[in-house]
């Protein structure tokens, strides 16, 4: 049964639960609803909730967990003697999954797939026709595993449908059985709803746990294959998908920090000066349209900046600066990415600084102006020093944004990992390498792929530290004037 149909059936059952629950409650008091503890709709609602919610949770959990159980059986069928050199059973399982998906696709088109499982060559051509390209003909044990996986998948789907329907009907019966005039349906509904609310707010915690767990788990896996000291302190980055690669993070960190530094050199003066002008000098009318206009820069997707760097800024810098100055002839460079990223983070600096400057008490300004200082002297000697911690926080947040930015550097900074001071040379960053190591067909057990998780962990820790420091500073500062 398809997922859509199953969901519709469950929803119909829930509606039926509502109607039945309500009717049963009303009929038990012979229509005199004053004798009920709660209003009739509550009896319907609790029955509907008990019918649908557990069943939907079961489906979600089943879909998430089923591959774990299905693949255990299939993987045991793969004959270790047939494994090609350098390939693990896990990698063969990836093929098995693709073949199974391709077969399901063919079956969905109404083709008969049983003869294909008997002949590897026919299978290969049929799958190529369906867009699933296999490098080699599948071995017999791969085929057996594929068949087992598909059978298990079908069985599991059927079992899930039955389990969900049984659970829904059981919930309905349970809900109905509890209905009597004394039953506190409103309290029960609200208790149920409260658990849903708590569950929702735990999603955020689970996300963090998921991020940390997936990064840590695969990073540990990586450090078992590749020494951690080489990763942290080696100055060469030369991944080779045949083995023997050198995976030092230093050139990537250097690129990341160089690009971010240029971005901040662009964004901090512009952002800070415009925040000062908007907060201290601009008329209300100017402020009303300039502030949103600058904030548009923050709302533009980063892919747009990436294309801007690739098509406009990169060639411009190459033709008018790098080549005439003899500094290189690559259109993707640290300068290109840094400049464009600087434009992107201007609003992060300006908006937050603007808020913070506005939070400086007017009395400080009045005091300074009253002593005869000009407005600019007041700003430089009173307002900015008073707002400094907050401004530092804003800059740190912008820095964390710049370090974690991906698309601009993927399209503007280049892919060459090197330690160089020339800003017109192509360099690469941590995020660029995460993308390049994890896209395309990759083998999950190799250090060249797993290194992306270690890079991700580094990035996560770096930005988390910056964010926490920035938040603490901003919060401290706010308290000071509240």
């Amino acid at each position: 049964m398809s997922l859509g149909l199953l969901s519709i059936i469950l929803l119909v059952l829930a509606v039926a639960g509502y109607v039945l629950g309500r009717r049963k409650a009303v009929s038990q008091v012979e229509g005199d609803i004053r004798k009920l503890h709660s209003l009739p709709p509550f009896y319907g609602r609790i029955t509907a909730l008990l019918t649908a919610v557990p069943a939907f949770f079961l489906i979600a959990a089943w879909l998430l967990a089923q591959p774990l159980f299905l693949e255990n059986k299939a993987i045991s069928l793969i004959n270790p003697a047939e494994l090609p050199a350098g390939k693990s059973a896990q990698l063969v399982m990836a093929d098995v999954r693709r073949v199974a998906a391709g077969l399901n696709m063919l079956a969905a088109r109404g083709e008969d797939v049983t003869p294909l499982l008997a002949s590897p060559s026919a299978l290969k051509t049929a799958l190529n026709g369906a867009g699933v390209v296999l490098e080699t003909e599948p071995t017999p044990s791969t085929l057996a595993a594929t068949a087992a996986l598909r059978d298990a998948g079908k069985t599991s789907r059927l079992a899930m449908t039955i389990a969900a329907l049984v659970l829904a009907v059981a919930g309905l019966a349970f809900g109905l059985s509890r209905i009597n005039p004394e039953y506190r349906a409103r309290n029960a509904t609200e208790q149920f709803a409260m658990w849903l609310l708590i569950g929702s707010s735990l999603v955020a915690v689970l996300t963090t746990v998921g991020i940390v767990a997936s990064l840590l788990f695969e990073s540990i896996h990586f450090f078992q294959l590749y020494p951690i000291s080489d990763f942290l302190f080696s100055a060469t980055w030369t991944p080779k998908f045949g083995g023997g690669s050198s995976l030092g993070i230093l050139p990537l960190l250097w690129g990341t920090l160089y690009v971010s530094a240029i971005a901040l050199v662009v964004a901090v003066p512009i952002g800070l000066m415009s925040a000062i002008y908007l907060a201290e000098y601009a008329s209300k009318a100017t402020r009303a349209w300039v502030k949103p206009a600058i904030e548009i820069l923050a709302g533009i997707p980063t892919i747009v900046y990436g294309l801007f760097a690739l098509v406009t800024v990169g060639p411009l810098l190459r033709d008018y600066f790098a080549q005439p100055l003899g500094l290189g002839n690559s259109s993707s460079s640290v300068m290109t990415a840094g400049l464009v990223m600087g434009i992107m983070v201007i609003p992060f600096v300006s908006s937050l600084s603007d808020d913070i400057i506005n939070a400086v008490p007017q009395s400080l300004r009045d005091g300074s102006l009253g002593l005869g200082a000009t407005p600019s002297e007041t700003i430089k000697q009173v307002v900015v020093p008073a707002a400094l911690p907050g401004i530092v926080g804003a800059v740190l947040l912008a820095a964390s944004r710049a370090i974690g930015e991906t698309m601009i550097v993927v399209m503007g900074a280049g892919a060459a990992a090197q330690l160089s001071l020339n800003p017109f040379e192509a360099m690469t960053t941590v995020t660029v390498k995460i993308v390049s190591q994890l896209t395309g067909d990759t083998e999950f057990a190799s250090p060249e792929t797993l290194v992306a998780f270690a890079l991700g962990l580094t990035l996560f820790c770096l930005t988390l530290a910056l964010n926490i420091v920035a938040l603490v500073i901003v919060r401290k500062y706010r308290e000071q004037y509240e």
Binding site: S201, T302, V304, F308, V435
Partner: protein
Amino acid sequence: MTASAPLNPRAHHDTRASLLVQDPRTKARNATEKRFRAYGLSAIVLALLALVWLLISIFGNGLPAFKQSFITMPVTLDAALLDKGGKRDPADLAKATTIAYGKLLASALQAEIAAKGIDIGAIKPKDLAKMISEESPATLRNRVLADPALIGTTVQVTVLASGRIDGYYKGRVTMESAALDKNTSPEQLALADKLKTAGVLSMQVNPGFLTMPDASDKRPEAAGLGVAIMGSIYMMLVVLVLALPIGVAASVYLEEFAPKNKITDLIEVNIANLAAVPSIVYGILGLSIFINFAGLPQSAPIVGGLVLTLMTLPRIIIPTRAALKAVPPSIRDAALGVGASRLQTITHHVLPLAMPGILTGTIIGLAQALGETAPLLLIGMVAFVRDFPGAPPEGLFDPASALPVQIYNWTQRGDPGFVERASGAIIVLLVFLIAMNAVAIYFRRKFERRW
């Protein structure tokens, strides 16, 4: 303090001290003041110029993508070529490949040129056929397969011209560059000019850019955004269906019910930090949890939707909590006073009053999710997908592309025609974003209430 001490400590700097004449120091201070203001103003001007520059560059590069060179000519659909059996049997018809249709189009173009009396110069027939997009035979074939009655008749068809011809009229290809290009020649371009005067070749609005699927590396003229737009809409549906209820429920719990203790503090710090986690980290999460652990298919909108949901949640929770906080306590007190339960107070009074703020926050969160690229790269949305995904919910598991990823994908291709396509796609993306933000601003203006 003695009486002889000067009242003005600066008096000895300037003996001509007068209120009517500025002393040099005051002049210097006033000049500094003026300069400082000018710095501030120029910072704003610079920021706005950057915005204008960005928009001009994108629109300048992208607007031509919405127009395309088409060749319009009559084509005789020869039954002897297309339907060898003569029974109009669909299986038989499908045997006529795109190669046959290509030959048909080539001879039709030759006939049309002869009919208009145009001198083709030194162009070989093979090169003549190259003026028509390689995608056109497939388009014509699909049209015939959908309506076999056309076979044997002469139909007026409008087919895409090749990418190089199109580039010539958009200024991308010149006579000089064509001389070096093995895909076209100056003679071809000269002939194209003659065809244009004869009315065979013309620039028309190209709806296919929005409806057609992606095309291969060599056919930028046929590449469209159809699958990418569908994929993006599917993902936004998933995000809306999951993130809005979960986000609102989490905000209601944290704002209205949660006791103030260590656990709630932890959740709050968590949400603040999640909002600042780089988006690519969410991609890693999606790859390892949803694809490797749970075995969901790569390139599927469901996975993209789930990843974007997790990313959007904190961005919905933060404005939603602000909106709930803005509802005055007197409303809650009144409802509780007449005997409503706490949950009834929330659902009947607080949530409806906070709804405009919640919707505004949600729409802005969705707009951010729509433009997000990096996490989608990691979960395999970069794949080349030509088939439209099926109807939801099953279609959510079919491979699809997404608007921002399609843009990235096009920028990585060799043919310069794809830069125009990518910029055009960005215009489409920006139109979606502007529309969503306009709706958000409308909600805020229309329903905003000051207490």
